[in-house]
Point group: C2
Amino acid sequence: MRQTDYVILGLLAEQPLSGYQIKKLVDIRFKFFWSESFGQIFPALKSLAAEGLAEECAQEHTGGRAAKTYQITPAGREALVAWLGQPVEKESLRLEILLKTYFSNYAAPEVMLGHLAAFEQSHAQQLHILGLFQKELERIPDDDENHREVLRVIDFGQKVNMAYLDWCRETRDYFEQKQARLREAQDQPDKK
Amino acid sequence: MRQTDYVILGLLAEQPLSGYQIKKLVDIRFKFFWSESFGQIFPALKSLAAEGLAEECAQEHTGGRAAKTYQITPAGREALVAWLGQPVEKESLRLEILLKTYFSNYAAPEVMLGHLAAFEQSHAQQLHILGLFQKELERIPDDDENHREVLRVIDFGQKVNMAYLDWCRETRDYFEQKQARLREAQDQPDKK
DNA sequence: CGGCGCATGTAACTTGTTACATGATTCC
DNA sequence: GGAATCATGTAACAAGTTACATGCGCCG
């Protein structure tokens, strides 16, 4: 069983969904810490159905092609709970910007300033979206009784993105100073 | 050209290295934001040599099998600088613990408390190691003139890991309270 | 009827991990 | 000579992305 399978089971545990809807939910709700593509979701749904952890239900079609909707089975719920109890094993972080920062003495400070601006903008945006989610969750009724847990996840995103932005500002300052130092050295090559 | 190629070029830009040494450096220096395996490094070194971006030099052997050492070529340096100037494109974060937190209303609070303890311990450890690196860097002479950039990378790790630990503590509190609520409800099932 | 939007599905590719086979040296 | 250590290399697998092919209904 892949991680994708459990993501799907978790979402189906709340309500029946189609592959397309699952993709949209993952893109919105898990955006800052997870992703899935169609190439993973559709095969996973098929295998979940083959193993009896999910089953096809009604074919709704609200405009456009009919959507194959799946619902979770009791065995699927058991599998989900069993997975929740297993130790967390996957944690991965890959940040090209840190690689470039590490090697940045081979490039001009301007280069890093550009990368930092893009990074900062993207994470400020993410933080903004998380804030909207938080307000939305606090506003609507907690029918599934999972709002508090979801808020914990959102809080993680907020803390981490704020840390990213802090780092951005400090690092921007650093490269701006470096740039100023270099300019000075160029303008007055004799002094020292 | 893969990301692995640039990681290798960046490390070779400082000094000639063997595949084995590269792996060790990545494991130590980039541990908290990057990883590479032998299965990526050795083929990458071969292809870098084929493209003339790196070349084999002396076969040193300091105990054990002879190490094939590679050094960067001028073309390799150019490729590295060109990559540094390209926009940052890869940023990925995958945290199973957030997935489990999101779905945690299907499990007992104890389960999450266990996961949180492991997560907290692992990141406290990482933070500790980053502190050691920082002190080490501030102590030794900055021969390659890249200490300040490396310290920016370390600072990122420290900020992010501190954010993780803050979240851990708050989330631990939340699940402990939830646990207490459940216990209370079980002890006095009549009240309300 | 043509294009757009919703939706499913797959094949090809890229990337990354794991496990294994091998080789050479040192130390006991 | 055997274990430990340092080191290279590969094959098999697992995971993940991308691009494409298809289908259907609606709207102008």
